[in-house]
């Protein structure tokens, strides 16, 4: 009987074109946009060329300082600042009239750099030009010290050697945020329309009464409907991840380069799939309870909105943490643990203790939510409008 109800609910869920649009197409589009956004974020500035406004009468010496910037094109302007304000360039540089003479005289040459740090392009250009000026300054200082018979190395009081323990591609951090975020949103957004339709929708359309008049046990009904919501979540999660994986593999460069599971590939993908499955059932249980409480589809959707927000909130909590900074709490706390465990897996760490904690915590929550749902589903108030 369970299977018969489940089969009917699944067919019914995927027959609705509007639900199908919200359930499948929307998450895929959203996640694709997110993938390409992250890709562009990583590659931002890499292939970019910039235009820097300089004065028309810029000296050959000054041009040499800037000439080493191969991505920067110089635009000679009567008023460089105005050219920047007019949007013709991303930044402007104005050397003081006596810049060359002052530098030659062993004094500080003044330079004015004009830009807008709110603009990513302008920030990038200012960063590049500042770097060039700093390099030029080092050369000038070294020359001055040599002229004074002082070894330029005297200026280096501390020699810092930075050693990075993380051998992963730095872009893996972006993927570690992107993948759990994609999963959370896809499962939540994907399963929500079905969840709302399956209980609140049945109450609204009065099919619930017809259903309750059949000699089918309410627990069986509840379980079949719960399995449907969770299955829709699992299916959407898998489809979305598959689409994103294809997009990363064929249409991105940096994100693709960041993925390297090494020898643990099977374990990482297997465990990733397992925690995703359990997480879908957890989200399904939460959405089920909002639908039972809602008298109409609209009401159920209103109740599920805060859940959607809670689903993505943990990303902000763990986004700045390295995998070695995760504590037991990160793997026990529902909502947070899916982000923590997927981050660990994406960094190539397969910690079965953490996986057990994550799955166990979600299963306990599922059982508690299911018991509450069963109690609600036996009450006249929640079953019939």
């Amino acid at each position: 009987m369970l299977f018969k109800i489940y089969k009917k609910e699944m067919i019914d869920s995927f027959r609705d074109k509007r639900t199908l649009l919200l359930t499948v197409l929307l998450p895929i589009l959203m996640m694709s946009a997110l993938t390409f956004f992250y890709e562009s974020l990583i590659s931002d500035g890499e292939d970019e060329t910039y235009t820097l406004a300089v004065e028309e009468d810029i000296s050959a010496e000054q041009e040499t300082i800037l000439g080493t910037l191969d991505k920067v094109e110089l635009l000679r302007a009567e008023n460089p600042e105005q050219a920047f304000i007019d949007g013709e360039v991303q930044a402007a540089i104005v050397f003081a009239d006596n810049f060359d003479a002052e530098v030659q005289a062993g004094e500080a040459g003044n330079v004015e750099l004009i830009g807008d740090t709110f603009s990513q392009k302008s920030s990038n250009l200012i960063y590049l030009v500042s770097g060039e000026l700093a390099e030029y300054e080092q050369i000038v200082v070294a020359e001055r010290l040599q002229q004074a018979n002082i070894d330029p190395s005297i200026t280096q009081a501390v020699a810092v050697e930075q050693r990075e323990t993380n051998t992963e591609d730095s872009n893996i951090q972006v993927l570690a945020l992107l993948i759990p975020l994609i999963l959370s949103i896809a499962i939540g957004v994907g399963a929500a329309p079905s969840a709302a339709d399956i209980f609140a929708g049945e109450k609204e359309k009065k099919t619930m009464e017809a259903l309750l008049m059949t000699p089918v046990n309410r627990s069986t009904l509840l379980m079949a409907k719960y399995l449907t919501i969770s299955s829709v979540g699992v299916i959407i999660g898998i489809i979305t991840l598959a689409v994103v994986a294809i997009e990363i593999a064929f249409f991105t460069e940096h994100l693709k380069a960041a993925i390297s599971f090494g020898d643990n590939m099977v374990a990482i993908i297997g465990m990733g799939a397992l925690v995703t499955l359990v997480y879908s059932f957890f989200v399904g249980a939460l959405l089920m309870i909002t639908s039972i409480v809602g008298k109409t589809v609209k009401e159920a959707q209103s109740y599920s909105t805060p859940i959607m927000m809670v689903l993505i909130f943990p990303m902000m909590m763990i986004s700045g943490l390295g995998v070695n900074e995760f504590t037991m709490n990160h793997f026990i706390l529902p909502f947070v643990n899916i982000f923590a465990i997927l981050t660990e897996l994406l960094f190539g760490v397969v910690n079965y203790g953490h996986i057990f904690m994550t799955i166990g915590s979600n299963l306990v929550c599922i059982i508690i939510i299911f018991i509450i749902s069963r109690i609600l589903f036996s009450k006249d108030k929640w079953v019939m409008n």
């Binding site: 009987m1 018969k4 109800i5 009917k8 067919i11 019914d12 027959r15 609705d16 359309k205 009065k206 099919t207 009464e209 017809a210 259903l211 309750l212 008049m213 059949t214 000699p215 089918v216 046990n217 006249d380 079953v383 019939m384």
Partner: protein
Amino acid sequence: MLTMNVTNQKRDGNEMIEIQNVTKRFQDKKLSITALNHVSFTVHAGEIVGLLGENGAGKTTLLRSIATLLTPTEGQIVVKGYDTVKKPDEIKKRMGVLFGGETGLYNRMTARENLEYFAALYHLSKHETKVRIDELTKMFGMRDFLDRKVDGFSKGMRQKMAIARAIIHDPEIILFDEPTTGLDITASNVFRQLVQELKTQGKTIIFSSHIMEEVDMLCDHIAMIHKGELIYHGEKEALYEEENSRDLNYIFMSKLVRGTDGYAI
């Protein structure tokens, strides 16, 4: 208030539905509403009972209680020997219900899929389901739209389908709650013909209605409810004789004015 201690009444073994001193109160945070107040009457096998009452009188609450969907606050309802609270599944197997103009159908499924689904829920085998769908298709003239999605059905088609859905398991007892509400004349006539057909099959039927002509045409027994209390239950012809009138509308209104004990309510 018309209450009878059914357990003390003379029983003839033909009792199908025994409503025994039933009270149903809905409790909100601050408000307590008594939808049914010590209602008692018995429906025998093969009877067609018309349940009359104003909006909010308690008709739907009574039908839902008989249908095991609501639990009485006090009293007991026994259907074919089974208590509605203790043995709801035994009752559900023997009862078909159609509530208040709602069809209880899934719009994205075809008529056949709807019937097959409910047949499965009533534990009918594949063979029984096929035979029953054939019978109902013939009975209700549904052949032309059996394999079409319910979404595009007219009200009349929906109503036929809804009744077919409610009786897919060939129940002995059928409850209809204002089944012709919102239906046009043609669809209403279809329903009336179907009830006549079910009557000839010996089904026990209770249906609530505002339409006195419909009740007069189809019912042999009348139950009247006012503000949760039963103000009359008995044979239709006996009521006409007692009131010296065959105008059910007039009788109903005068009953409301006089109340259960002959006093104005």
